[in-house]
């Protein structure tokens, strides 16, 4: 019997979305559900992810940009208006503030008379990968891990159909991880979290807990290898459950995951080709029944250009629907069963991954390896290798490093010259949110707010579970920023290692001419050419900035890498104190129009002149021209994949600034 009597139920279909305001996002969700989407995937904006209200100084320019701002229970009400909580499956990409957003969701359910026990969905809640790749961490590792284990213990007891954590291999792949590293470092995180849960919850039988843990993975273009990666992942997850945690129930041992296929590999050049890439990557996570994704969300074809519009997201949803409903994919048992090739490849990935799991354990576990920078360094190295392969053409990317000739694309044609092929967030949205949160604070019971915040601070300080305290605060009308500030007081803040210092990259002869130029320039200037690389704003996607820093060192520059979340004033201070010759900024959150001019002003105010400023990021053409008019020397976008020529460019800019060219 190879054909199934009843076809398997399709996976949950979602679209990662949210922007501007809770109201605007709610209409988007309802429209998406009407188009056949079967679950929600909420994208929060960066202030919400980092525990700031829209009127916080650091939130400027970031409100409603990469997701929806949710500042209090009122926003959660508006966000889920008209959507039944008892039947909806809601996934929230939320990490450092996961207990808070989970608390708001539970408070709303109770208010609507839906018991928390009926809720289904996921909080991402994987803080380790935030330190390694995504950057939206707040608290130090040990403190963060305690919050994670609190939510897991609480959910297993009170919200039994909820996935309180999604262990994310997704962002590790984006940071450059090979399939082996992806599995190994994710399982390292699993061990750290599970050990903490077992200790904190005083849990003897881990079956219920283990059965509620799920994964969020990535799928790249090499989809045969991706199938094997997922089979290896499932194999090792089961082994971990049996051997380390004594779980024997096969259902609890099942490897359950959601997926967003690779956004990193999507290209700005000939972006229509991304549609094929998305479909092929989807095959990697759907072809094999035994390790098929439980939930799929697909990026849009134009993500390398800017924010996708509703129509772009619809096109991706249709890809899922065509695959699930038109093909015979769901009618068969696992089609790889008995394949010698797949079995062999799976075995080799699993073996190598387990070896690296053991290496991490020898070095003290995932948390120690985050703090020492060991994992981050390995990821930065892998990413550097990937990028140099694309540059040198040994890894082919159609339309980018080969087959670059193209007829003009009608998809990009629009009356305003291409700028229309993406979504632009109304700049007035931020001001409206600032007013709204201030109005909210005025009309609530201040006494209840103060009491619940005091209780939160005191309780967390004593090591109590953060969830009940947060739910009480949510009901009293506490805001996201107040919750974040209270926990910052008690738990402290953290800055993660950048990984660029310890990473080593392979020999690359092609950089030699640039090196000679940089060395000669240093002789003429009297000291080596010094660059400042930093990321203003709240965006934590540091992979690009790290690769630029690494390559700049390799080109002979002295690089001051300032890491993520620096304010314009801090950047200006560093530029002065370090005496740099050029400043490079990386902004990926879409807030470049606000942040970059602020940095330029801060530099001017600090008396920094004659120092060219360059910007890299996902920056639409029209915005790039506007930034150049404001005084930015160069704007680099994903089209500029050849880092070697960027380095040459930087040297030229410094030469010109000093009248030496």
């Amino acid at each position: 019997m190879i054909e199934r009597a009843v076809p398997e139920r399709p996976w949950i279909m979602r679209t990662y979305s949210g922007h501007s305001s809770a109201q605007a996002s709610n209409s988007l969700y309802r429209a998406n559900l009407a188009k056949g989407q079967t679950g929600l995937s909420i994208a929060f904006d960066l202030p919400t992810q980092l525990g700031y209200d829209p009127d916080h100084r650091l939130a400027r320019g970031e409100v409603g940009k990469v997701g929806v701002p949710v500042s209090h229970l009122g926003d959660m009400r508006a966000l889920m208006d008209g959507i039944p909580l008892e039947t909806m499956n809601t996934s929230m990409t939320i990490n450092a503030t996961a207990p808070w957003l989970f608390a708001l969701y539970i408070a709303l359910a109770e208010e609507r008379g839906v018991g928390a026990r009926a809720l289904q969905g996921t909080t991402q809640n994987d803080i380790v990968k935030e330190y390694l790749s995504r950057g939206t961490y707040i608290f130090p590792p040990a403190q963060s891990l305690k919050l994670t284990s609190d939510t897991i213990v609480y959910a297993v007891r009170n919200v039994p159909s909820w996935n309180p954590i999604n262990f994310c291999s997704y962002h590790l792949q984006e940071a450059g991880a090979t399939p082996v590293q992806e599995i190994a470092y994710t399982l390292g995180t699993c061990i750290a979290v599970l050990d903490a849960v077992r200790a904190a919850g005083k849990i003897e039988d881990m079956t219920a807990t283990f059965g509620r843990l799920s994964f969020f993975v990535n799928a790249g273009m090499r989809f045969v290898e991706e199938v094997c990666k997922l089979r290896a992942f499932a194999l090792l997850w089961e082994r971990l459950g049996r051997d380390r945690y004594g779980v024997t129930d096969p259902k609890a041992l099942r490897f359950r995951y959601g997926v967003q296929v690779n956004s990193l590999g999507l290209t700005a050049a000939q972006p229509e080709n991304n549609v094929y890439r998305i479909l092929l990557e989807t095959l990697g996570v759907t072809l094999s029944k035994d390790v098929r994704a439980r939930a799929v969300q697909l990026p849009a074809w134009n993500e390398a250009l800017g924010l996708p519009r509703p129509w772009d997201q619809q096109w991706s949803l249709r890809c899922q629907q065509v695959l699930a409903y038109e093909t015979d994919l769901l009618e068969y048992d696992d089609i790889f069963e008995g394949s010698r090739v797949v079995a062999e490849k799976t075995r080799s990935i699993a073996g190598a991954a387990w070896g690296e799991v053991e290496q991490v354990e020898r070095l003290g576990g995932a948390v120690a390896c985050v703090q020492s920078g060991y994992i981050k360094e390995r990821l930065v190295e892998s990413n550097a290798l990937r990028i140099s392969q694309i540059e040198q053409g040994t890894r082919k990317v159609v339309g980018v490093n080969c087959y670059t000739e193209t007829a003009p694309s009608p998809l990009l044609a629009s009356p305003d010259g291409g700028a229309g092929a993406i979504l632009t967030v109304d700049p007035a949205a931020e001001a409206a949110q600032v007013d709204a949160v201030r109005a909210w604070r005025k009309k609530r019971d201040e006494g209840a707010v103060r009491r619940t915040l005091d209780a939160l601070r005191a309780g967390v300080g004593r090591g109590e579970n953060v969830m009940p305290l947060s739910i009480a605060a949510a009901k009293a009308g506490v805001t996201t920023g107040e919750w974040g500030a209270a926990l910052r007081d008690v738990l402290g803040e953290f800055r993660a290692p950048t990984g660029v210092g310890g990473a080593t990259i392979g020999r690359d002869e092609s950089i030699e001419p640039v090196r000679a130029k940089v060395r000669a320039l240093g002789e003429r200037l009297g000291r080596n050419v010094k660059l400042l690389i930093g990321k203003p704003g709240l965006d934590g996607h540091s992979n690009g900035a790290e690769q630029i820093a690494l390559r700049a060192r390799d080109a002979g520059f002295e690089v001051v890498y300032q890491g993520i979340r620096v304010t314009p004033a801090q950047l200006a201070q560093s530029a002065v104190e370090e005496g740099v010759h050029l400043v490079g900024l990386s902004v990926l959150s879409g807030s470049h129009n606000d942040l970059v001019p602020e940095v330029l002003d801060a530099l001017r105010k600090a008396g920094v002149t004659n120092v060219p400023v360059v910007v890299g990021g996902i920056i639409p053409e029209a915005d790039a021209r506007a930034l150049e008019a404001r005084g930015v020397a160069r704007v680099y976008t994903p089209k500029d994949f050849a880092l070697g020529s960027i380095m040459d460019d930087l040297a030229e800019l410094v030469m010109r600034a000093h009248g030496l060219s």
């Binding site: 130090p140 080596n528 390799d554 690089v559 300032q562 104190e577 005496g579 600090a606």
Partner: protein
């Protein structure tokens, strides 16, 4: 500051540095890093104008193996010194890549500064291939910072035995280790490392392991006959521990020093070391041997700086 602008008068620059102006200190550091021959007279003039730095200042060097948490410690210490009302200048030295000549200066990530506070200044410096783990421009940079700030903290690359250079430019040498590595013990016992002025064990939050490391170090230091060397355990994760104790230990060491005498002795030893690096043992023999050279240095005017002393040694060698 475009290359076409007329050079800034050195006296004005020195005044800005002494006033602790962030921009002036930065420009002075740019100048002392300048390798061009044409800049040498201006550098010498600036250093003369700055004098020997604040007379009641204190310069502290931090050495120790990579990864033990020197930057984090320097950051925590800088914060505590600011709270106590001192201004602080930090010089963070990072290695240059031998192959490319480039460098990643990553310490700023770890050190918390506030734009509105000009009393905490951080400058990164690449070794640019210098032996000894200290950059060529480091001694002059320390002098600039010492003229501007009450306390100067120098963080070195931390490669073990070649770290000794830092002792020429600071008043107090702190050796930083983490529990369980055993490096410091090995170095001490093998006599590779001289006993530092203060020993710090980081990661005190590790508890028992840190206590053990501390006890081992105390025993080793005593066995070497140095009863005075304090061993301090610190933790920089919240809540920080031991930072105040470290500040106290540093102040205590400084109070016991005759700073003028120590700095004079350091300058003379530094000059001889520089001379020996440049001219080798043959050069030292031309001076009549190490002993004779030290005697000659001891007879020179106390106000001379290192370049002047090296110059003098070179003349001695040619005459001899």
């Amino acid at each position: 500051m475009g290359s076409a602008d007329p050079p800034e008068p050195v006296e004005a620059l020195a005044a800005g540095v002494r006033a602790g102006s962030r921009a002036a200190v930065a420009r002075a550091l740019n100048l002392v890093e300048d390798r061009r021959a044409q800049s040498r007279p201006r550098i010498a003039e600036l250093l003369r104008a700055l004098g020997g730095g604040k007379p009641d200042g204190h310069r502290v060097g931090f050495t120790g193996p990579p990864g033990v948490g020197k930057s984090t410690l320097v950051s925590a210490l800088g914060g505590e010194l600011r709270r106590r009302g001192s201004t602080v200048g930090v010089l963070a030295v990072d290695p240059s890549s031998k192959r490319s000549g480039g460098a990643l200066l990553g310490d700023r990530v770890r050190i918390e500064t506030r734009p509105e506070d000009e009393g905490l200044f951080v400058r990164s410096l690449a070794t640019a291939g210098e032996l000894g783990g200290l950059a060529r421009a480091a001694p002059a940079s320390v002098l600039v910072l010492a003229a501007a700030f009450d306390r100067v903290l120098v963080e070195t690359v931390g490669v073990g035995q070649s770290e000794t250079d830092v002792e020429y430019v600071v008043d107090t040498v702190v050796f930083v280790v983490q529990p369980g590595s055993g490096d410091a013990l090995q170095f001490l016992k093998a006599g590779i490392m001289e006993v530092p002025d203060v020993l710090v064990v980081t990661k005190a939050d590790l508890g028992r392991v840190a206590q053990r490391a501390m006890a081992d170090l105390q025993a080793a230091v005593r066995a070497l006959g140095s009863r005075e060397t304090p061993v301090v355990a610190v933790s920089c994760v919240a809540p920080p521990q031991g930072i105040e104790a470290l500040v106290d230990a540093l102040e205590c060491h400084r109070a016991g020093l005759d700073l003028t005498a120590r700095r004079l002795a350091s300058r003379r030893r530094h000059a001889l070391a520089d001379f020996a690096t440049e001219h080798g043992e043959r050069g030292v023999r031309a001076l009549g041997g190490r002993r004779a050279a030290e005697r000659w240095l001891g007879e020179q005017a106390p106000g001379l700086d290192v370049p002047a002393l090296v110059q003098g040694l070179q003349e001695q060698a040619t005459e001899g």
